[in-house]
Each structure stands twice: as structure tokens, then as C-alpha cells.
Symmetry: C2
Subunit: 316 residues, 2 copies
DNA sequence: CTGTTAGCGCATTCAA
DNA sequence: TTGAATGCGCTAACAG
């Protein structure tokens, strides 16, 4: 274990001063190419590894960004996290990930920890009841995903667009009797916005709205299905794939598989299980990428508070 | 932003020396209770946050453990990660999570990064083709999950036990014609061990084995279903819930829903979609917890290389 | 272009 | 029981 090598050892081995080694490490251009090459070779051969802790302490930047997800096992957040990781990892950053479990208190705790860890920035996944004043400490070094914010930059999903897309898709197939199943409007993004979009789309098309809202679970949607179903129903738009799964199951049970079901989330399982089904991809992965990019912009040049909306795209 | 507070500021504010403050921070008993109380109060009121970077550099311990998952969106690994986080977070540690994507090369890269970050230890999720010599650098500071290892401690799932449990469950229901669908035995854990267990269980019960192996996907299992199905088939045991889902779908299609299907993974969706179904819980969450505990044992007292096996338990 | 000098914030000696 | 002094490994002035 040559783990005890320090910058000074390298300096001696290369026959230069420690600052020269440091300059090589920091990509400082003020170093003669020959010298640089020499140092780099010694570093390579000795297997020297600069201590991040020391660098972090000295330079003030830890090359770490904190990510607070609401649930580690949420498929949507998972996709977004992957987008985040792809970007920050490419930039030589790493992520410490924490789970808020939809609790503002936990979020606050986690942010405190991240702060004391000297992370360069944070990306937080919002949830219903999320309050962005929690992020005051991180000022211009935070980006929020999936929720409206005021004082801090954000990347949100196009909640209205997704539903409009679904409605449009169905309209193009000539369907006119379209119901909707969503979640409690108390949840602004998944609940209210998507329901509003449905109602709006109905108005545009002179369709009589027919909808129900409940919990975000298979069971809830399953139970609600009958309430939005009548003899003429041709399609049911759902606020999420989870709901769509519950609806599709019920439809299958009562032999109404001719009814088209749409969900949101791009879950491959949905279309595998039920052919007469499609799902809208809200662009989770891309949203994650953009959130990371946005954060970097803030870190490098104090960019102004920005609100991005991730476009959704249809998917079979 | 009182973020610029240092230990010296606190010392002044409390009217003591910086070392005393340090002692309070490190739980050093050699501090008069009154003094300690005073200092703690100042810390609380000032919102002072000790710099982890500095602590880490000085003490050599960063209170960070690295976690390398194979896929961020694997439900099983997700559950395990939650177990890990629960334990390490309670101990004041944090996790930086990385994704290997089943690539030994990526794993190696990530470990290098983690090393230079001075993490105290790592927990790595194994995958087919995983080679634990990769972990040489981490010697006694690593724990592997879900794969057999030699030189490093591990927590593995009870691959044989899960299948035996499923077979037993079915036997108790009086079923005797039980088929199996698994994955390529080239994958030792999910493939070979589970298949072996099936064959073994058949032998014990004088059941004629009937099985197929393929990929770990709905489609694969869906297609394979017919090949293990005959008029007498009463049940199909699957190596995972994903497979079970594909099988159940096919059975439903051909009106053979009287055939019981079992999977592994405790996915709630499976039993929701198909009533005549059950899943074995390999104890992912608990495995994560145990892995974390095991790692701590290594960190604190150089425990010897240990191999734990996580017991599985049935689930409806 | 390069070596020398000073700290960064903290934990740990060593005296007192 | 406490304060003063000494680096940890590194980067950023400051001089050559």
C-alpha cells in the first residue's frame, strides 16, 4: 500500500518542488511541458493518489454534489438520478445520495449534513408540501426537480404537456370518449396540473369530462375504474403508469380491453402486460441531466435563478 | 451565512481554547461538564458546523462509505441500499453511490475514485463475472453483496433456500407437477444455484423435473412458458419476479390461471396483478443492513473475513 | 517557468 | 482539566 505517498514524495522523486507537482495536478499551464511530463510519469509509476480531503479543505471545492431523492425506489427518480450521475461523473464530480421519504424534516437534516460535508451543490427532488426555503443555506448552489420553486432554480416536468400529448394521441385515433384517473389535486404537480390539463383538453375537443382522483396506487386506480367507465368509454388517460396498471387490470377483468389506456412514466412493463396501452415519457433521464448542467452553470458563473421545463415525448 | 465560522471563533465566543472546543467535538471525556455545556451552547446558538473536510484530513476517517450498485434501478438492489443507508446513516456516516452497470472496468474506476476520496469502506454489489481481486486495494474495508467471494467479506442471498421455500410451499398445497423457469446457469447465483435447488427439490420429492432457462426478462419467460407446460402442470417456480410476471401473463392468455406461479423478489405488483401467485422475499433490506454492520465491524475491530447468508422468507 | 512560504480547519501531542 | 504548539496534504500567494 503506497497509500502514504504525499505530494512531497512525488516532488522529491521527480526532483522538483512541491508546488510544481501541485501545478501539474491543477492543470496549471505555467509549467514547462518537459517538467510536466516528468512529474506525470512519476505520479503514474508511483501510483500516487492526491488526497481529496486535503484538496477539498484547501480549495474549498469538494467536487461532490448532494442528491436528495424522495424515494430511492421510485422508478422516475431513478431515471433522473442516472441522468444526474452521467453528467456530474463526466465532470469529475461524485454524488452522495440521500432519501427524504417525502419528509421536510428529513430533507432538512440531510441538507445540514451535506452542508457540513462541504458539498459544492445539491439537487433535490421535490415532493408535495416541499418548501424551498429549506434550501436557503444553499442559495445559488441548488437545483430542484419536479416541483415549482421560487427562490431556487428548477427543472420541472411538463405536467400539462404530458396529458395533452396523451389526449392528442387518442384524438388522432379518432377516439372521443375519454375518461381520466388521477391523484388528489392536493398534490399540485401530479394531481392538480395533470387533472387541469385533462379538463382543458376536453374543453378544446368538446369532450364531456369524466374523471376520478385517488391515491397513487394500483388498488386505488383499480377501484376507481368502474366509476369513469360507461358503455361508450373508449379510452382512459391516467396520471401515471402505476394507475394505468390498475386500470388495465380492471378492464381486462371485465372484458373491456378495447378501451385504450395511457399512463405516464415509460414503464416497459405496462405495454408488455397490456398491448392496448401506451405511456408518455416525461423525460426523466434528460431532466436529471439538465438539472446537473444547470447546477454546474450556477457553480461556475453565478447564473440567475432559472426554471426549466422538461418536454415530454410519446412512447409506445 | 455564518458558514465561515471556524473552531477558533467558537473558542473565542466561549472564552476557551480551540483545543477544548475540539475535545467537545470529539466526545473527549477530559472536559469539565460545565465547560462542555457552555461550548455546546455556543455551538448551537452560532450554528457552527465543523468542516468534514478538515476533520477527514486530520483524522484520516471521512465517515463516508462508498456503495457500488450494479444498477440504480434494480428493485432488489434498491431495497438493499435502503438497508445500508439506514444503518450507516444512524452511525453518522454517509454514502456516495455509484453504478457499475455490470462492468468490471467501471467498477474498477469507481473504486479508484472512492479510494482517492478517502472513503472509510466500500460495499459492492456483485454481478456475474465479478472478480473480487478488484477489491485488493480495500483489503479489510470492503463487503460484497450477492456473490461468492474469497478474499473479502460478503453477504449473499440464500439462492437455494429461496427455491426450496417455494417448492415446499407448493408441496404443502399438495401440488406435484412443478416446472421451473430460470436464467442462464452461466450466472452462478441467479442462474445455476437456483436451478440446482429446483432439481434438488425435485429429487427429494420424486418429481420429474421440467425446466427452461433464458434471459432475465418478461419476454424470455413469456416465450419459455409453453415449453414447461403440459396438461398436468400445476405450478411454475420462477427464479425471479420478472420471470414470474412473464409466465403469469402467458398463463392468463391461454386460460391456465389455475397454475400457481411463484417468483423471487417480493414485488407487490406481481400478487396484485395475478392472485394465484406468490413471491419469496430474499431479505434484500436485511441483507443491506447486515452488510453495513459487517463493514463497521471490519472498520472498528479488524474482523476476519466473514461470509454471511441472508435467509429468505416466504411472502404472500 | 519554478521553488519557497503561508496557511486552510481541525485533532493531538505537550506542558502547565 | 485546559491552552499552546505542531503538523495533516495541499493550493496560492510571493519571490526569484
Amino acid at each position: 500500500m503506497a497509500q502514504k505517498l504525499t505530494i512531497l514524495d512525488i516532488a522529491k522523486l521527480a526532483g522538483v518542488g512541491k508546488s510544481t507537482v501541485s501545478r501539474v495536478l491543477t492543470q496549471d499551464p505555467r509549467v514547462k511541458p518537459a517538467t510536466r511530463e516528468k512529474v506525470e510519469q512519476v505520479i503514474r509509476e508511483s501510483g500516487y493518489v492526491p488526497s481529496k480531503s486535503a484538496q477539498s479543505m484547501r480549495g474549498g471545492t469538494s467536487k461532490v454534489i448532494g442528491v436528495v431523492v424522495s424515494r430511492l425506489d421510485s422508478p422516475s427518480e431513478n431515471k433522473a438520478v442516472r441522468g444526474i450521475l452521467a453528467v456530474i461523473y463526466a465532470a469529475g464530480y461524485d454524488a452522495v445520495i440521500m432519501e427524504s421519504q417525502f419528509s421536510a424534516a428529513k430533507t432538512r437534516e440531510h441538507l445540514a449534513v451535506l452542508e457540513k460535508r462541504n458539498v459544492d451543490g445539491v439537487i433535490v427532488f421535490g415532493f408535495s408540501g416541499f418548501d424551498d426555503t429549506i434550501l436557503d443555506g444553499f442559495a445559488q448552489r441548488a437545483v430542484v426537480i419536479a416541483v415549482d420553486t421560487d427562490s431556487v432554480s428548477s427543472v420541472s416536468y411538463d405536467n400539462k404537456g404530458m396529458i395533452h400529448l396523451a389526449m392528442q394521441q387518442l384524438s388522432e385515433q379518432g377516439l372521443t370518449h375519454i375518461s381520466y384517473i388521477g391523484v388528489d389535486p392536493a398534490d399540485r404537480t401530479t394531481g392538480l396540473f395533470r387533472l387541469d390539463a385533462y379538463l382543458e383538453a376536453c374543453r378544446e375537443r368538446h369532450i364531456e369530462p369524466c374523471y376520478q382522483t385517488g391515491e397513487l396506487s394500483y388498488e386505488s386506480a383499480y377501484k376507481l375504474t368502474d366509476k369513469v367507465l360507461n358503455a361508450q368509454t373508449q379510452a382512459i388517460v391516467c396520471a401515471s403508469d402505476t394507475l394505468a396498471m390498475g386500470v388495465a387490470k380492471r378492464l381486462q377483468e371485465i372484458q373491456r380491453t378495447e378501451v385504450v389506456v395511457s399512463g405516464v412514466g415509460a414503464t416497459d412493463l405496462l405495454s408488455f402486460m397490456f398491448p392496448n396501452t401506451f405511456s408518455i415519457d416525461p423525460g426523466y433521464f434528460e431532466a436529471g441531466q439538465r438539472a446537473a448542467h444547470l447546477l454546474f452553470q450556477h457553480l461556475q458563473q453565478g447564473a440567475p435563478v432559472t426554471h426549466l421545463t422538461q418536454q415530454a415525448c410519446t412512447l409506445l
